[in-house]
């Protein structure tokens, strides 16, 4: 036991002493913020789009569309020409040259059948398409109602803008969390879990590899059992990651308490917009779930990474051999949108129960929607069983692998390693 403790302390002290640790302690949050906020920023606020409305309507419908779009903040209407030969081609050319973002083609058929056309370099922006669809739909309904003899004033009165407030129900208590906030929390947690499990798992792997390539492992294994050595490593590196989280947590607290000052100094131009963005309140239960699954995921994956390190003879081999493990970890990470949008689906439930995906999937489901206690307990129990089985297998690979030199074992040899008593 004292020897395991010494291994844990060595892993911890050597890592915390390294420059790498402090760089990631300070720059980690910036890095996370960047990879979380930058894509959402580009997806969300693309600035206004300059478009041309090619108006082939004879009823004044085109003019009403232009009025309505001009009121919104998404589009700037550059012109509203009447269609003529060659117009569409020349406009398409303009779009190709980036002088124009898009063009909307309206005809009388738009009101009759609902057919309209939007051509643009980028048609994947949900925000743009939603806006167009909303405006065209509303105005087409109005036009058709008026044609059927309904008083325009009545039509105007009949229209109501729905402001759908979403509140998450957790257990039976309605929380203050909005669906956007829930999604944010889930999204951020999945990224942090994925990166931290991968980074610290790879840390365990390189540590195993270092001892193997320097042959220190022989001296160590003649002093304590291979399993104890592996356990000490995993726990030591795990302690470093918890310490890292603690630094991030405390740092985050500090930044939030001084947020006004920070926002003011960092982004003076955007103060209005930034102030409107509230960080979601994170309930204690969510923190607990997050930490529990982080630890579970870390133990599960670092056992696998330890086995990968043990079966490789150099960094290059290890990089190749780690790929299946990273892919396994990525399954849940890549499913984060599906999980957050539909946390109750069979797929989401399955991912949150299988030990290889539950460390990321369950916290995401937990944050995005409510998860029953039974499910949570079941998932944790499966995770614990998964850790036990995977660690057992990994330890057997580790025990044989750390003394092997030469070529990496193939699958059949691995199975033999696992079987040898």
């Amino acid at each position: 036991m004292r020897k395991i403790w010494a291994v844990i302390r060595r892993e911890f002290v050597e890592r915390v002493r390294s420059r790498w640790f402090w760089v990631s302690a300070f720059l980690g949050p910036l890095f996370f913020a960047a990879i979380i906020i930058i894509p959402l920023h580009f997806a969300g606020t693309g600035g206004t789009k300059a478009i041309v409305v090619v108006d082939g309507t004879t009823s004044g419908f085109g003019a009403r569309v232009v009025d309505s779009l001009t009121q919104g903040r998404t589009f700037t209407i550059v012109a509203r020409p009447v269609p003529h030969a060659g117009l569409l081609d020349s406009l398409a050319h303009e779009i190709g040259l980036n002088r124009l973002d898009g063009l909307l083609v309206l005809t009388d058929r738009t009101v009759e059948t609902g057919a309209a056309e939007y051509r643009a370099a980028n048609v994947s922006s949900f925000r743009d398409i939603d806006e167009l669809r909303g405006v065209l739909g509303r105005l087409a309904v109005n036009a058709r109602l008026e044609r059927a003899g309904v008083d325009p004033a009545t039509v105007g009165q009949a229209q109501i803008r729905i402001d759908l407030q979403t509140k998450k129900i957790s257990g039976s208590a309605t929380t203050g969390e909005s669906s956007a906030q829930s999604f944010w929390l889930a999204y951020v947690m999945s990224i942090v879990l994925f990166i931290v499990i991968a980074v610290y798992g790879v840390n365990v792997m390189s540590s195993v590899l270092e001892e193997k390539t320097t042959r220190i492992v022989e001296v160590l294994v003649s002093s304590l059992r291979p399993f104890e050595l592996m356990l000490g490593k995993v726990v030591g590196v795990g302690a470093v990651s918890i310490f890292q989280f603690a630094i991030w947590g405390l740092g985050g607290r500090l930044v939030l308490s001084q947020r006004a000052a920070f926002v003011g100094s960092l982004a003076p131009a955007d103060v209005g917009q930034e102030a409107a963005f509230q960080l979601p309140p994170v309930p204690a239960a969510t923190v607990a779930v997050f930490l529990a699954y982080f630890l579970g995921g870390f133990f599960l994956y670092s056992a696998m990474f330890a086995a990968v390190g043990a079966m490789s003879s150099n960094e290059q081999e290890a990089r190749q051999a780690q790929q299946p493990v990273v892919f396994l970890l990525m399954i849940a990470y890549l499913s984060v949108f599906a999980l957050a949008n539909n946390p109750g689906s069979t797929y989401a439930v399955a991912l949150s129960l299988v030990p290889f995906t539950s460390p990321i999937a369950m916290p995401v489901r937990w944050a995005a929607g409510s998860v029953s206690v039974t499910e949570l307990v079941g998932s944790l129990a499966l995770l614990v069983i998964g850790i036990a089985v995977v660690t057992w297998i990994a330890a057997r690979i580790y025990r044989v692998g750390i003394l092997m030199t030469g070529k990496r074992p193939n699958l059949r040899e691995l199975v033999r390693w696992i079987k040898t008593a």
Binding site: K3, E14, T214, I216, V219, L224
Partner: protein, 316 residues
């Protein structure tokens, strides 16, 4: 405590220990016994199973059959790690760690507490002239200095039994000297040292007891002197001073000489069993040969080794 009996129980015993790897048997029912307080050589050509044997003694590998007993108790190096020092054949240290930290950690691995490990490490670093490097990182040290740090790590816990796998390989001459002095110093303090080597000259100078193995099997073991007497045969070195006389006829006499290595002015003979060297001398002189040298020699360990192992195994 062991009683001071004239023939104390061996410090290390292997009882028909075997280890098979996929496809071949590395060690085949090897038995040996190492008395207390001796320098014991485990000799054999490359691939003979020396490292595998040592790894089984150290509990790094588990034998497929047979038993290892250390200090008269069952179990190998891991069970008794606080009393055994081990230097593996391929050496290395944590490159990014500070010298003192590495030593303290490896001391802890052998079961001594941090404070004592630290004191002893400082003492050893001082003794081997590395005191000013103690807070430097291992990779800032020269290779020779790293080797010294590694010796220290092996001896830090003052073990009763030292197991050294090819201790002299890849050492620079200065460190080879340090190693040799250390081994002798340990021996004089009553410690037992088992080391493996394929360099016979070294074994011949250092070992009191030895075991020669090849292809996982024991060929011979026992005290160096006994082995030389039983396997050495009689070896005669003859130098001529110009005239060879009738030497060729004398050498051809199978009743006297079993093997000749003739260089013209110099010859090495192996005596036939029961032959009297004096008779050879007499016949050479009467045949008119002029001698500058006539010396009866014990066979070198190297010669015994090659005779036992066979030239083909040496090449392997």
């Amino acid at each position: 405590m062991t009683s001071p009996s004239p023939s104390p129980s061996p410090i290390l015993m292997l009882d028909r220990v075997s280890k098979r790897f996929a496809g071949h048997t590395a060690v085949d029912e090897l038995s040996l016994s190492v008395p207390r307080g001796v320098i014991y050589g485990l000799l054999g050509p490359n691939g003979a199973g020396k490292t595998t044997t040592i790894r089984m003694i150290m509990d790094i590998l588990e034998p497929d059959g047979g038993a290892v007993r250390v200090f008269g108790e069952p179990g190998g190096g891991r069970v008794h790690s606080e009393r055994i020092g081990y230097l593996p054949e391929e050496r290395g240290l944590y490159r990014k760690m500070r010298v003192l930290d590495v030593l303290v950690f490896l001391g802890e691995m052998k079961g001594i507490d941090r404070r004592r490990a630290r004191q002893r490490a400082e003492g050893w670093l001082e003794r081997l002239g590395l005191a000013q490097w103690r807070l430097r990182r291992v990779d800032e040290l020269s290779k020779g200095m790293q080797q010294k740090v590694q010796f220290i790590s092996t001896m830090l816990h003052d073990p009763d039994l030292m197991i050294l796998d090819e201790p002299f390989s890849a050492l620079d001459p200065v460190n080879a000297q340090v190693m040799k002095d250390t081994v002798l110093d340990l021996r004089s303090r009553g410690k037992t040292i088992l080391f493996s080597t394929h360099i016979m000259e070294q074994a011949e100078k250092l070992c009191e007891q030895l075991c020669i193995i090849a292809r996982g099997r024991k060929l011979v073991d026992g005290a160096l002197g006994d082995i030389k007497r039983t396997h050495g045969g009689h070896h005669l070195v003859i130098g001529f001073d110009g005239s060879l006389g009738g030497a060729a006829q004398v050498f051809a006499d199978k009743g006297l000489v079993s093997k000749v290595d003739n260089y013209g002015q110099y010859a090495e003979l192996e005596l036939a069993s029961g032959a009297d060297p004096q008779q050879i001398l007499q016949r050479l002189v009467t045949s008119g040969a002029r001698l500058s040298k006539f010396e009866l020699q014990e066979a070198s360990l190297n010669k015994i080794f090659i005779d036992l192992v066979g030239p083909e195994a040496v090449r392997a």
